[in-house]
């Protein structure tokens, strides 16, 4: 059986609830992996697929909120659905601010669980797609020469070749050649494409690159 294209993680210290959650999510067709503690979850190798985390707010070894903070710190971006025994408003606010998808009070309806899981997986899928796209763009950007990067930064500001040649102290023919290489290396079909890419890469014409 091939690896699933998404996975739901459950961290809860109550074995019965852990099992019940796993079975319920299984019955709706979700792939689930369970953990009894935060430490166990952190110590495990996570598969590189879209995922979400169903997390009990109160765990014996550390609180769910602490785990959330720890994950954010170590750069693990995973949408979290919190489970709590009773609605604790300040706690929910804190969790939502830190990026929680949903805060479910036990006992919960399966519909709210399923919709929260679906939303979390969608969000993670989208985030992963964006992350991989960005990584791809960065790779392409890395192939540009310093001169080409200068040209790219000025092109996306909307300057004409002649203006850029003036800025960089060269001929517009040379700029045209640079521009063609940049478009090819970045895989941009049009100037509009290139501008979007630059936005994602947060490239703007930096004043420091301009000669005096």
């Amino acid at each position: 059986m091939s690896a699933p294209d998404y996975i739901v993680f459950v961290v809860d210290d109550d074995p019965l609830l852990r099992e019940s959650l796993q079975d319920l999510l299984n019955s709706a067709g979700f792939t689930v992996q369970t953990f009894g503690s935060a430490t166990e979850f952190i110590g495990s190798e996570l598969p590189d697929v879209a995922a979400c985390l169903i997390l009990d707010v109160q765990l014996p070894d550390r609180s769910g909120l602490d785990l959330q903070t720890e994950l954010v710190k170590s750069g693990i971006e995973i949408p979290i659905i919190f489970l709590t025994g009773h609605g604790d408003i300040p706690m929910s606010v804190q969790a939502m601010k830190a990026g929680a998808v949903e805060f479910l009070t036990k006992p919960f309806h399966k519909e709210s669980l399923f919709s929260a899981v679906k939303e979390a997986l969608t969000r993670d899928g989208e985030a992963r797609r964006q992350r991989s796209e960005l990584a791809d763009l960065r790779n392409r950007l890395a192939t540009l020469t310093p001169r080409e990067r200068q040209v790219l930064a000025l092109v996306v500001t909307g300057l004409l070749n002649k203006q850029i040649a003036g800025e960089l102290g060269t001929t517009d023919l040379t700029i045209k050649a640079h521009r063609g290489r940049v478009m090819r290396k970045m895989g941009a079909g049009s100037l509009a494409d290139l501008v979007r890419m630059a936005e994602k890469l947060k490239i703007s014409s930096e004043p420091s690159v301009r000669p005096k």
Binding site: D14, L16, L17, E19, S20, L21, D23, L24, N26, S27, A28, Q58, L59, P60, S63, L83, G85, H86, T105, K106, P107, F108, H109, K110, L113
Partner: protein
């Protein structure tokens, strides 16, 4: 001397009578034994009057110990009238108590008629008992034999009266003793009755106190449960979440094509398991709310501690406190009211949680220990890592209405202590090492292990 029968000279006859009279007089003390002085005097007067044909015989006995003197008189048969003895006493007043030689030989007859020749005699060695005065109208009174009889009679009377006085004193002493015994008995009876009343009052007061304490214990239990409401809600919602999730998945497995009976069955199994957990939680809570004590039973303290810990698990997690139990499996069974014991443990742990929650999260640590302290004595200790106890607060902690909590009523510790003391144990507090406080109690074990 040749004396014919029938022709006995008068002198001899008188001597014979005298001897007879003396013999009679010598027998008198035996007759008087156990008699009152007045009876003695009465017989003495009668005997003397009969023997000596006296016209007047008068006896005055000094009253002993502040009593009135006794006066009695007897008159000769020839006298036609009598006067009360006190009049005779009045007549003799000026000589009474004086030596016999100071008396006049003749006195006026108080009944009228000729003057009386009198013989005064003291009764007792120094006349301390009284006096006897014999009088006769006869000019030759007293003859020698008559004087002899009178003095023997006075001696005999002294002996008899002395005996009577001793007897009467003894009777008096015995009577006094009886009276005192009766009085003391009555006093004791009254004191006893008073004591009985006090005991009854005290019993009633103790009963009232017990009722009030029971009320307070119940109140504080309800308040504790109120404080625990969030934890209890959490505890119950946990199995409920399992029940609902497993119920939903069971339905899903049943309606899938084809139905997955195996997984549906497993889900139902979890429903049952979780429902059992929930009802166990409800049982524990209900036990806490129970108003009337279930009475003493054999209780395993470790089980009570585990119950309390499971009710408080959420509280410790909420405050990030690590809770450790070190329960000695060899602890003896105790005779106790399970609900009350649980209340004490719950109370101590709640206090410990509150004080521990005020220190740095890394330091928040709580240990509950059970074990044997002395042989036949069980010890339970709740150790926290809070700020500890200030010296001046150590005993105040157990005073009613002393509290450091904003919502506390200050009855938790006094009630806990009174519960433990009612079970024959002790509850006290001291500081923990290196920081925090230890609240611990000991209880007598039900049976020594063989």
């Amino acid at each position: 001397m040749d004396v014919q029968p029938g022709d006995v000279p008068e002198e001899v006859k008188r001597l014979q009578r005298c001897i007879n009279d003396l013999v009679s007089l010598l027998a008198l003390p035996a007759v008087w034994s156990g008699c009152e002085p007045s009876q003695i005097v009465h017989t003495l007067l009668a005997a003397l009057q009969r023997m000596l044909q006296l016209d007047l015989v008068y006896v005055r006995l000094r009253g002993s110990g502040g009593e009135e003197p006794i006066e009695m008189a007897r008159f000769g048969e020839s006298q036609e009238q009598t006067v009360p003895p006190c009049e005779i006493g009045e007549l003799f007043k000026r000589w009474l108590g004086a030596a016999p030689q100071e008396w006049p030989p003749l006195v006026r007859n108080p009944l009228g008629g000729q003057d009386l020749a009198i013989v005064p005699l003291g009764l007792g060695l120094q006349g301390e008992i009284g006096e006897i005065v014999a009088g006769s109208e006869r000019a030759d009174f007293p003859r020698q034999t008559e004087r002899l009889i009178l003095s023997v009679a006075a001696n005999q009377a002294s002996i008899g009266l002395q005996g009577a006085r001793i007897l009467s004193e003894q009777k008096h002493v015995a009577g006094e003793l009886d009276r005192r015994v009766a009085q003391r008995t009555a006093e004791l009876g009254a004191a006893n009755e008073e004591l009985r009343q006090e005991i009854a009052d005290r019993k009633r007061a103790e009963e009232d106190l017990r009722n009030t304490q029971a009320e307070l214990a119940h109140l504080s239990r309800v308040m504790t449960v109120g404080e625990l409401a969030a934890s209890i809600a959490h505890e119950v919602s946990q199995p409920l979440a399992s029940i609902i999730a497993s119920g939903d998945s069971c339905a899903a497995w049943l309606s899938s094509e084809p139905p997955n009976l195996e997984r549906a069955r497993a889900a139902i199994g979890r429903v049952t398991q979780a429902a059992t957990q929930a009802s166990e939680i409800v049982r524990r809570i209900r036990a806490l709310f129970k108003k009337t004590a279930a009475g003493t039973t054999s209780v395993n303290v470790n089980a009570v501690i585990e119950d309390a810990v499971s009710l408080l698990r959420h509280e410790t997690q909420r405050h990030n406190i690590s809770l450790l139990t070190e329960l000695d499996t060899r602890v003896p069974v105790v005779r106790a009211d399970r609900v009350q014991l649980q209340q004490v443990i719950l109370n101590l742990v709640m206090n410990a949680i509150e004080s521990t929650a005020s220190v740095d999260p890394e330091r928040r640590r709580l240990v509950i220990q059970s074990g044997l302290s002395n042989p036949g004595e069980l010890r339970v200790a709740v150790k926290d890592s809070g700020p500890g106890i200030e010296a001046q607060q150590a005993e105040k902690l157990f005073a009613p209405f002393f509290t450091t909590k904003p919502q506390g009523i200050g009855m938790g510790l006094p009630i806990s202590r009174s519960i433990i003391e009612a079970h024959g144990g002790r509850l006290w507090a001291e500081n923990n090492e290196p920081h925090g406080a230890v609240f611990q109690f000991v209880l007598p074990a039900e049976l020594r292990r063989e």
